[in-house]
């Protein structure tokens, strides 16, 4: 299983010379299984260039797993080239709502006056699914989703293949309902998704100082995430959903701080960087 970062910026796309190294596109991670299954985590602006790449050798099926429907995780969908292709099945998974079907909630954004055309005008065969709270299979990948703490219906995902695991837990503020250092871990949001993951991709939008003025906004500080990842016994932590105000130099400092805070508790600690591919486990890359 391999994961490629196409977008790791939080909240709003942040292009420009100050973010060239870490990237400015919003959340989008491509996952390829050993068998060639194509799973995409979130549909931020990083989905547009990923779509261009996929069109070179269009898979018969693509699964897009949305964590939630905030715009920075959804806005790439209308510009995803495979949506406008034929001979492709596009399966869109997202958090279950207590009120309306997933398709209605997504179409609310992709309709006038917010968007000029409806998703239904796309030529791909489009299917919407409520992400089950539990496990299911997409090709050779075992997928687990669970609700996590963030304003509005939001889920995190865990992908497993051949004994290796990737946890994708972005837009997550577990500290809002727990003391991350002392609360029994079963009472911490996202714990089961992250526990023992080979790679944990986790929201780390704020510094500790910034978090102090943004409690309840649904995101975590770097220090909180290091504590969370350590208690989850994750091997590698990838900081994600970088704040738009954090330029490349700020990100360097954040990574250095995270590594210092983690000490030797994590196998690896880095910040997600656009264009980087992670090898999660044995994979026959196709």
């Amino acid at each position: 299983m391999r994961a490629t970062i196409w977008g790791c910026r939080g909240s709003i796309a942040t292009p420009g010379p100050a973010t060239l190294r870490y990237g400015g596109n919003t959340s989008c991670v491509e996952v390829r299984s050993a068998a060639g299954d194509v799973l995409i985590l979130d549909a931020g602006t990083g989905l547009r260039p990923l779509g261009v790449e996929l069109m070179r050798d269009l898979p018969a099926r693509i699964d897009v797993l949305l964590t939630h429907l905030h715009v920075d995780h959804l806005e790439g969908l209308g510009f995803f080239a495979p949506l406008w292709a034929s001979d492709v099945e596009l399966h869109i998974w997202g958090p279950r709502s207590t009120v309306r079907p997933l398709s209605h909630r997504i179409e609310h954004y992709f309709s006038p006056p917010l968007f000029p055309v409806g998703l239904g005008e796309g030529t791909a065969r489009l299917e919407f699914h409520d992400a089950p709270e539990g496990e299911w299979m997409i090709g050779g990948v075992r997928v687990t989703s669970q609700p996590i703490l963030h304003p509005g219906a939001t889920v995190g995902y865990r992908l497993e293949e051949q004994g290796r695991s990737l946890a994708y837990v972005t837009d997550h503020e577990p500290a809002l309902a727990s003391d991350l250092a002392t609360t029994p871990f079963g009472w911490v949001s996202g714990a089961a998704l992250a526990f023992g993951a080979d790679v944990l991709i986790h929201d780390a939008q704020y510094t500790a100082e910034e978090y102090g003025t943004k409690v309840g906004w649904g995101h975590s500080s770097v220090d909180q995430v290091v504590t969370f990842a350590t208690r989850a016994k994750a091997d590698q932590l990838l900081l994600f959903h970088h704040d738009p105000s954090h330029d490349d130099d700020a990100m360097d400092a954040i990574v250095a701080h995270a590594r210092e805070t983690a000490g030797g508790a994590l196998g690896r600690c880095a910040a997600a960087t656009e264009g980087v591919t992670l090898d999660i486990g044995p994979s026959s890359w196709r």
């Binding site: 207590t98 669970q146 996590i148 703490l149 309902a177 871990f185 079963g186 009472w187 911490v188 949001s189």
Partner: protein, 130 residues
Amino acid sequence: MDAPQHNLVLIVARDFASRLATPVFLVDPDGTLLFFNEAAEAVLGQPFREGAGMPVEEWSTVFSPADEDGAPLPLQDLPLGVALVRRVPAHRALRIVGRDGVARGIEVTAFPLFAHADEFVGAVAIFWEH
């Protein structure tokens, strides 16, 4: 992990209760006690650490719940029992005897917790002493 993760609604409910000055009692779908807060400890006469994991058969009797005339109340007549069994909100006044041996008159409001319309994850009771 030392224990399975709880449903997110229960995690939030437990945190909410822990921050309240009003007594709160939280149970899972089977009625097993998950949490009561410090304010509840004062009314129940027992610290939570000694009550954690109490099964429904125990908490529904150990505090000797009775109506205002002193007649014992079975589970199905307790507000939290109604929330658990019938899965609807309920309220009533009743009398209990705390684990400290003190008899108290309390009002209880209980309601079921649904994460989704078809997903019952537990129930919560808030109460206060007369």
